[in-house]
């Protein structure tokens, strides 16, 4: 075993020296290789952190959202339904929610107005006349704490709110267009009926009981539709996965071009290189030794490119907020959240990246390397 390791060390020594002797030739390949890794890794890192964000955020949301349906469309939920649900085993909490959308013609953006649910951590219900707004609204309307925001209500009258606080920057992905206000203000602003809620939410702690509870709800309240959090998660996941996959397919062309380039590089041995291999074989190196040495060359190149590309991608996504990719992956809206992705790396990602870059490179170079390694040693004597 020690002999084997020593042998590899000698071969690696030689490979390193060989690479260093022809920097120009290998630099071009290294650059392209690094670029390929960089692009693919950026996509993966970005999508992965978005996915993670979504999952983390949704973890806070209630397990079941119950919406009333009228002729197949979303209708307001009568408050008495809360009582009609009664006690269902497994439901640890239930309450009505008040929320809605508001179109602000001044900036042509949609806001989400919401009354904070009972038990919300940071913000209890804002005081009458006060609101708490998200960063997107603050930015587009140029608002700071203490400023006033005037909006036209459902009845046509202007409502003036005072900005009591801004929602934390870290929640921007979901709160950028959010406006929190008191229940009375909400009902007056939207002329919302007193005995109605927007929807009802229920908390079910045991994930295995969620479906059963949903079943019971639809039996008890036939004109309602339960939406499960796990379904939302699945949809997000699917969308992110699908989008990511699409980008990868589009990049397939790039990977193919890279593979052809790599093959060409490996196959295009100069006369000098061929002579060198002939010399090695004539002084006592076997085909196996030359093969392994050439593979170490490829491995050194691959590892360098992989490492560099990945690091650059990491920097790109987490320090530059993936400047190149936002349009494709985020979708479009007027209020762009200033999203700072949270680093998240996992094994699948690295393995998949590896299979998209290092594996094709290795396969493309197998035959050219072999062809070089079987050079006849006596060619050197002629």
């Amino acid at each position: 075993m020690r002999q084997f390791l020593r042998h590899q060390r000698y071969l690696i020594d030689y490979s390193l020296a060989a690479l260093a002797r022809r920097p120009g030739k290998h630099l071009a390949l290294l650059l392209v290789y690094t670029l390929v890794v960089f692009l693919l890794a950026s996509v993966m890192l970005f999508t992965q952190s978005l996915r993670r964000e979504a999952a983390l955020v949704l973890a806070q949301s209630p397990e079941i959202i119950l919406q009333r349906q009228l002729a197949g469309r979303h209708d307001l939920m009568p408050a008495e339904y809360l009582d009609r649900i009664g006690r269902i085993r497994g439901v640890s909490a239930k309450y009505g929610r008040l929320w809605g959308y508001f179109y602000d013609p001044a900036v042509r953006a949609n806001y989400t107005l919401m009354v904070p649910p009972p038990g919300s951590p940071e913000h209890g219900e804002p005081a009458p006349g006060e609101i708490v707004i998200g960063a997107g609204i603050a930015r587009t309307r140029g608002l700071e704490v203490g400023d006033y925001l005037s909006l036209r209500s459902a009845r046509g009258e202007p409502f003036t709110f005072r900005v009591a606080a801004l929602l934390p920057h870290s929640t921007e992905l979901v709160s950028t267009d959010l406006m929190l206000l008191g229940a009375d203000d909400f009902r007056r602003f939207f002329a919302f009926p007193v005995d109605r809620f927007t929807d009802i939410v229920l908390q079910v702690r045991n994930p295995r009981e969620v479906r059963k509870v949903a079943e019971k709800l639809s039996l008890a309240l036939p004109d309602t539709r339960p939406i499960l959090r796990e379904e939302i998660l699945r949809t997000y996941d699917a969308v992110f996965g699908w989008r990511q996959g699409l980008v990868f397919v589009l990049m397939g062309g790039m990977v193919l071009a890279f593979v052809i380039f790599a093959w060409d590089r490996a196959a295009g041995l100069s006369g000098e290189e061929r002579r060198e291999i002939g010399i090695l074989k004539s002084i006592g190196w076997e085909t196996g030794d030359v093969l392994r040495m050439k593979f170490w060359e490829g491995a050194i190149l691959s590892l360098t490119a992989f490492f560099l590309g990945y690091l650059l991608a990491y920097a790109h996504v987490f320090y530059l907020s993936a400047a190149l990719f936002e349009p494709v992956l985020k979708g479009w809206a007027v209020l762009y959240p200033d999203f700072r992705p949270v680093p998240f790396v996992d094994g699948i990602q690295v393995a998949t990246l590896f299979f998209f870059t290092v594996f094709p490179y290795t396969v493309a170079t197998v035959v050219p390397i072999w062809r070089a390694a079987v050079t006849d040693p006596d060619a050197v004597m002629r």
Binding site: F4, R6, H7, R9, R275, L280, G284, D289, V380, M381
Partner: protein, 225 residues
């Protein structure tokens, strides 16, 4: 003791450029002698030497080394024998450019993966023996013809082979260096090694240190060899 029986070698068989380099050579070579193969270019002496030195396989015929068949060995085993038994010095030196003299000398031992310190020591000892230790850390591109030849000889000897094969060793040397080289080869014979040389340089095959001259022509031994 090297035995050749009806050894033939063809290149590009079956194609228009088919060439029979060696057409049937039967020969016995004694150990611990300096044997020179002469003949015009194209006579097949280089090809013959490459087959004797286990660098290539004969198309047909047999080559044995000390009674053991060499010619039917597959490449892996042929190389193992070659590493242990033969050292090569080429016409154009064939040192690897970009590496130092010391590194070049150590190269043939890499597949055997010996202890690094030992190997370096051995290499330096050889270089000292041939007066090259001052140049050990110089890049080979900077060596003169004679120095490169000596470096090549050191490289050929790193694995302590019994038999040294030199192909046109004086082709790129002036007369003084040539005579020096022939002297070196003679010294090697005194150390118990067998030396086989291919050369059409009269300085070589007319030298007193040469034990035997084998003449070749058109892939066969010339009459009276």
């Amino acid at each position: 003791m090297i035995e050749l029986r009806d050894v033939k070698k063809v290149f590009n068989q079956g194609r228009g450029s088919e060439l029979w380099a060696v057409r049937g050579v039967t020969l016995d070579l004694e150990p611990r002698q300096v044997t020179v193969f002469t003949g015009p270019s194209g006579s097949g002496k280089t090809t013959l030497l490459s087959m004797i030195g286990a660098l290539a396989r004969p198309t047909s015929g047999r080559i044995s080394l000390d009674g053991k068949l060499l010619s039917n060995l597959p490449e892996r085993f042929m190389t193992q024998v070659r590493r242990r038994t033969f050292g090569f010095v080429f016409q154009r030196f064939n040192l690897i450019r970009g590496l130092t003299v010391l590194e070049n000398v150590m190269l043939p031992a890499y597949p055997l993966a010996p202890d690094y310190g030992d190997l370096r020591h051995r290499a330096r000892a050889l270089l000292t023996q041939f007066g090259m230790d001052a140049k050990a850390d110089d890049k080979v591109e900077w060596l003169s013809g004679g120095e490169a030849q000596r470096a090549a000889i050191c490289r050929a000897l790193i694995n302590a082979p019994r038999i040294l094969i030199a192909d046109e060793p004086t082709a790129n040397l002036d007369s003084a260096r040539s005579r020096e080289l022939i002297g070196l080869l003679g010294e090697l014979q005194d150390l118990g090694k067998t030396v086989l040389v291919a050369s059409h340089d009269p300085l070589v095959f007319e030298s007193a240190r040469v034990s035997r001259v084998v003449e070749m022509r058109d892939g066969l031994l010339a009459e009276g060899a």
